[in-house]
Structures are given as structure tokens and as C-alpha cells.
Symmetry: C2
Subunit: 409 residues, 2 copies
């Protein structure tokens, strides 16, 4: 099977200032093309390091991709090193220069002279048009091997990859070695309990089996090139874990929720305290959310809970804002305010301050309203503020999903 290597060039990633999301994107795309990434290295924007990484990868892999280091500014030496590694000269490319000027014209700006360097392309390389920025992508091939270089800005890299590199790769290598993946998403069972449940479950040699524990849930993945074998194992595993499964493959809590609400023609509203807007942000991450989501309230301060959501001051006094009682009043409040079919509420202690022995950091109360059913639950999450909020938002959606999957309307 053909394999790829990705070289990420950038001091910023090695300094921890940027997260390498480019690798994630390229890895997904290349796996789907049957050219899975086998190796990835992150190096500094330095001549020796670039040279070494290119030598190591170009020798061993069919497809080598670099990202980063193609900007117009002075710290970018990648293009010179690439040209030198392949023994090519840099030559001025009129077409690229025109495209760079076009980008600036569209922004109603004159093209700064410094951008002329963007039009320098190693000879025998093909410049890949960049409509989102000034650094063209670069493509070079030697027999069966392919080399690509992209700018590090994710939106530019993705654009050039999808519009030009991907078609080149599809045409050159076909898709017969496509890696097939099937995933079961579970919720509500710990990794080790799931492992015990599957302790005597042994996939055949030609199917890879991976556990992906995430905070609060576990994904089970099967992958390889034998579609039939994968399907068989996948179904066998699913029959064992069905109770805990909420989705498959590329499903996300949000995509599953959208699908259910759209099918059942139900509208959602949300009232959030500790999650501060995150639940609603997630629900609207997907296009078409206006079909299933009306809106909601972020009632961070108690006065907002009382004034807008009609939570009773007595409830706040007696039980506190972080209580199932308050969560219930928030959820009925937002349901009535928006006239929605379904509503979710969250109120909790995201930390790091504000916890007590009785109500520790990580404790979150949830309210749910589905037609005439109203209920509330409490869960304690571990982790820092961000993880607690993220898990709480996902927990709210997954609980609603499991309820909706188990009920007819």
C-alpha cells in the first residue's frame, strides 16, 4: 500500500503557539485517498532541518507534503530549501504574479513589492493557484512519487489541497487502496467497563481495531482495506454495545441531534449558565441549524435567570443557582419564552473557583423538556474549566439524543 509523510515546518508549533490542525486535515484526506499518513514530523524553519526531513521522507514515502514557511515575510526559507533539495533553480512565474495582484485588487489594495517573492517557483514544479492568499502551492513529481508544498495558513492550505492537489492525487494513484473505517460512538459507559464487555471479542488479522477514549465517551474504530471483513466485525461489535451507541462514523452529537429533530420536525431552545453559550454554539456549528433551533438565553447572572427565564427568587435562595430545581425552572422558562418543542438547560460550577464540599467544581445540573416530559439530572465532571464546559455541553446533547432515540413521538 502507498503511504504518505507530512512535514510541518514552523517554529510556532514547536513553541506551542499554534496547534497543528493542518496535519489533522491532511491525514483525513490522505487516508480517504488510500494514501494514509504513516509518519509526520514537525521541524524548525531552518535549512538543515528542512533538508534532513525531506531526505528522510522522500526516500521512503510515495507522497510527501510540507506545510508552512511559504509566506512573503523574511523568516520563510522553505521554498529556497525545497528548490535546493530537488536541485532546481527558482524562476519568476508571471501567472502567479498576476494571481497575487488579483488577490490584492480584490481587497482594494495595491500589491506590496515584498510579494514578488511569492511568484518565484522552482523550475519543473507546477504552481497551484491560491485564491485565498498569496503563496501558491507547489507540486513536483518524479516517477511514482509526488511532492507538494502548501502555505501554513489552514484556510489557504485546505483550499489548494481540495481544489488542486486532491484531483492530482486521485488521477495519479486511483483509489483502490482506500482505507475503510467504521466507527461506533458510545456514551454512558467507562472505557474499562466497555473493555470487559468486549474482553472475548477478537477482530480478525486484517481488521485493525482501535479504542478512542474521549472525555466522557469512547469511540470504537475498525479499519483496513477489506470492506467485507470490516463490516462483519463492525456489526458483531455493534450488537454487543448497542445500548451505549449513539452514532456511527462521522456522526457528531450535533449532527445526530439535527437529524433526529429534523425528522421529527421538532424545534429546540437552550438556556445556559455555566456553559455560557457553548451548547448553542455547538448546535449552530452545522449549517441548516435554523431548521431545528430557535435560539435561547445565556443567563450567566442570577438576575438574568429571574428576569428573562422567570426562575423564582425563592428557588435561588433555597436551593441555589446550581440545583436541579433551578435547572428545571430554567428549562421551562426558555421553553415558554421561545415556544419550542424541546429545551435544554445547564447550570453548574465550571471552576476553577466557586466549588464547595457539597457542590464541587465540575458539578453541573441539567434540565430537559420534551413536550410534556420535564426532568433534571446532575453530573460531576473532571478536568479544567474548558474540559468541564466541553463535556457538560456534550453530555447535555447526548442525554437528549439517547432519550429521543428511545422514544416515539
Amino acid at each position: 500500500m502507498r503511504k504518505s509523510a507530512v512535514i510541518t515546518i514552523g517554529n510556532e508549533i514547536l513553541l506551542g503557539k499554534t496547534v497543528n490542525t493542518n496535519l489533522t486535515f491532511l491525514a483525513q484526506e490522505l487516508a480517504n485517498l488510500g494514501l494514509p499518513v504513516d509518519y509526520s514530523v514537525t521541524i524548525k524553519d531552518e535549512a538543515t532541518a528542512i533538508h534532513q526531513a525531506l531526505r528522510q521522507c522522500w526516500e521512503k514515502y510515495d507522497v510527501v507534503i510540507t506545510t508552512g514557511g511559504l509566506g512573503p515575510t523574511t523568516d520563510d526559507i522553505t521554498k529556497q530549501e525545497i528548490a535546493s533539495f530537488f536541485g532546481k533553480k527558482l524562476v519568476f512565474n508571471e501567472e502567479v504574479w498576476e494571481q497575487v495582484q488579483k488577490i490584492f485588487a480584490a481587497r482594494n489594495m495595491p500589491t506590496p513589492e515584498i510579494n514578488r517573492s511569492q511568484a518565484m517557483v522552482p523550475e519543473d514544479f507546477i504552481a497551484l493557484k491560491n485564491e485565498r492568499g498569496t503563496a501558491p502551492g507547489l507540486f513536483y513529481e518524479e516517477g511514482e512519487k509526488s511532492f507538494f508544498a502548501f502555505a501554513g495558513v489552514p484556510v489557504e492550505m485546505k483550499h489548494i489541497f481540495l481544489t488542486q492537489a486532491k484531483p492530482i492525487l486521485e488521477k495519479k494513484y486511483g483509489t483502490q487502496d482506500k482505507v475503510i473505517q467504521r466507527t461506533i460512538h458510545t456514551f454512558g459507559i467507562a472505557e474499562s467497563a466497555l473493555a470487559e464487555l468486549l474482553s472475548d471479542f477478537q477482530p480478525p488479522e486484517n481488521v485493525n481495531f482501535a479504542w478512542l477514549p474521549q472525555p466522557g465517551r469512547v469511540d470504537l474504530r475498525f479499519y483496513g482495506t477489506d470492506a467485507q471483513a470490516i463490516e462483519k466485525v463492525f456489526n458483531e461489535c455493534y450488537s454487543r454495545v448497542q445500548t451505549y451507541a449513539w452514532g456511527f462514523d462521522d456522526d457528531t452529537p450535533v449532527s445526530v441531534l439535527h437529524r433526529i429533530l429534523r425528522e421529527k420536525k421538532l424545534y429546540l431552545s437552550v438556556a445556559e449558565s455555566c456553559t455560557g453559550g457553548l451548547v448553542q454554539k455547538m448546535v449552530t456549528d452545522l449549517a441548516g441549524s435554523s431548521d431545528v433551533f430557535l435560539g435561547g438565553v445565556v443567563s450567566y447572572a442570577n438576575e438574568i435567570k429571574v428576569k428573562i427565564l422567570k426562575v423564582k427568587p425563592g428557588t435561588l435562595n433555597k436551593y441555589g443557582a446550581v440545583s436541579e430545581e433551578c435547572a428545571r425552572e430554567m428549562v421551562t422558562g426558555v421553553r415558554d419564552l421561545t415556544d419550542s418543542d424541546i429545551a435544554i438547560s445547564t447550570t453548574g460550577i465550571a471552576g476553577p473557583e466557586g466549588g464547595t464540599a457539597e457542590k464541587p467544581v465540575g458539578m453541573v445540573c441539567f434540565g430537559f423538556s420534551v413536550h410534556n416530559d420535564i426532568w433534571s439530572i446532575t453530573h460531576i465532571f473532571n478536568g479544567d474549566r474548558e474540559i468541564i464546559r466541553q463535556q457538560a455541553a456534550e453530555f447535555a446533547l447526548l442525554n437528549l439524543i439517547k432519550y429521543l432515540q428511545g422514544h416515539k413521538f
Copy 2:
């Protein structure tokens, strides 16, 4: 100067299913300790690959860290490979086993037998206590060199690093080679325009200068080990770009906004349409947000804009929901509803559908209300739905910040 290497072990990252945030965290921490990451490699959970990466890194670097592959499930072979690379046997560690059982006891669960493998530790290695999960960290040293292995789950890795690995590194290596970084955050000027503004600006040899273009803004970073030289260059650069600077170093739009609002004792509220809760989520990302933020409304559907925010139906009919007129009514609506000093509103087309020639995808109208000043602006963002929303939320915060930085109250 001492240098580190990070080895990430995990098929999931090479398949693009997980983003490598562990590297980001470790890179920041190690740079601060004067042990900057010089090289990072991501490999499969396979014996040969693990062995090769260990050989390559252990020979060349002072500190080598692996993350991933230490779970109890069957696909984790990392610990055996580490033991074999260093020529050690795995031995059962009673203390680790007790800690694993404690973790399960705290969850009111019996300890699954499969977790006994977690208590196997290579001889001469020190097990680092994991209070967030079952896989202990591992530490080994040979003379001046240090090796660490951590589980891949970010919350566990961070916990073990901060509580145990960091003190070991501080004690062993001191902090004399600490990398010093200073960053200027700019907004409202394109990368190339900034480059022209700084075209004759040349930092000295011992100060590294990096451009970090991000969607909608550019960071300028100076780093090295000579604190005085860095400070001098930093100040010189700042005096040139002052108009566009909104913060320094670890400042984020949210941290700067919190600081200003707290200083001025002002409370914020937010009304969001296209950003769907993201602005409020960002504002509440930081602890202590209840000092500066009351809450707000996500008015995704037009009925919610009218019913809750009192946007006039006539405004929606005449100008549409994506209009400066609507943004102004949303912002005064949420201000009145919450009785806040300051308010922000967003309404736009996040895409990918819904654009027209007159109102393209990416067009977002913003409303601002600061005491008696009310204004609105329109901006067109490029990118996919996620990037448009992210940029729009940040744009809203940065515009408010630039206004507040320029006005006395």
C-alpha cells in the same frame, strides 16, 4: 542550549481523528523551562516505528517525551517497546496497582482485571502518579538525559506533567536557558501592509523575529535568550505598530476585554444570531467572567429577535435580518433587557448556503452599544462556516476593545 524532542504515538492522529494538542501543551511548557522542543515526530503504535523514533531522539536530545499508547486496552504496545528499547524488564508495581484501584473506588466501581497491566513498570523507571486516570507516567534518566512517557489523554498527561515531570525537570536542569518570548498582537492591518510598515526594521542576530498571521490579525513575536536585546527590539517595534496593537504576550481578546471591563466596572451583554452563542462562550471561557458579563440572547430565529429583543418586524421586512439596522435594534434590545453598560450584537450569513449577490456568505453586521454611543459596522469574512464564525466573534471583541482602549470613561 538543551533541547527536547516529543514523540507522539497514535494511529488516531495519523488518521486525522485527533488533533495533537498534547504537543502544543508540552512545547509551551518545555520552552518556558529552557528545554525548547526542537523536533517532534508522530508515529504509529507499531514496534518498529516506536523503536526507530526512540533511537533517533534519545541519541540527539536531552529530554525525550512520548505521549500516547499507555491505555489498558489491547492496542497499546508502547510500554513494552519502551522497556525493550532501554533494555529493561517490566515488573509489577504494588503502589501503582493501589493507585489504579483507588481511581476506580472513587468512581464507585470495581477495578476491571484488565487494568493490572497498568501496574507493570520497566525496572529502574520511576512511576509517576496519575490521579486522573489509570496509566501512570514513566520517568527514566541516564546521566544528563531524561525520558518521560505519558498517557495520550490530554487531561491525564497535563496533570502528570505539571505535578511531577515539571518539578523533576526544574530541579535537574535549572532554568538559566529559559527562552524569553515577547509578542505584539495587532488587528486591523493586513500582513503585507504590516510588512511594508516594518520593511526597514531589522532585529539583531541574537533575537529571532517571527510573523504569525492568523485569520483577521497578525502577531509579531521576538524570542531568544537575551532578555535585554529582546526588550529593546520589542519596544522599537511596538512604537511603530502601536495604532494596531491591542495586546501583548499571553493576552487574548477575551483576557484584554475582561481586564478593561473589570477596571472600568462595566457589565457586558450580548445578542447573537450568526455566531450562535460563540461570542458569549468566548467571554465566559475565562474564570471570573461573572464580574464583567451578565448574559445575553441567541436570537437565531427571526421570531426570537422580535419577541425577546424587540427588533421591529418592519426593520426585518425592509432591511432583512442581516443589516446594520437589525444589528442596532438587537444591541439596544439586549442592553435594555439585561440593563448592561455595554452590549454587542452579531447578525450575518455564516454559510455555506444563504448568500446572495448583495449579501454574500461571510457578511456579518455588528452592533455596539457603550453607554450612549451606539454604532454598527459590516464586515465580510472569508473561509468556511467555522472560520467565518470564529473570525466574526473575535472581530466583535477586538472592535469593542479598540474602542474602549481609545476612550476614557
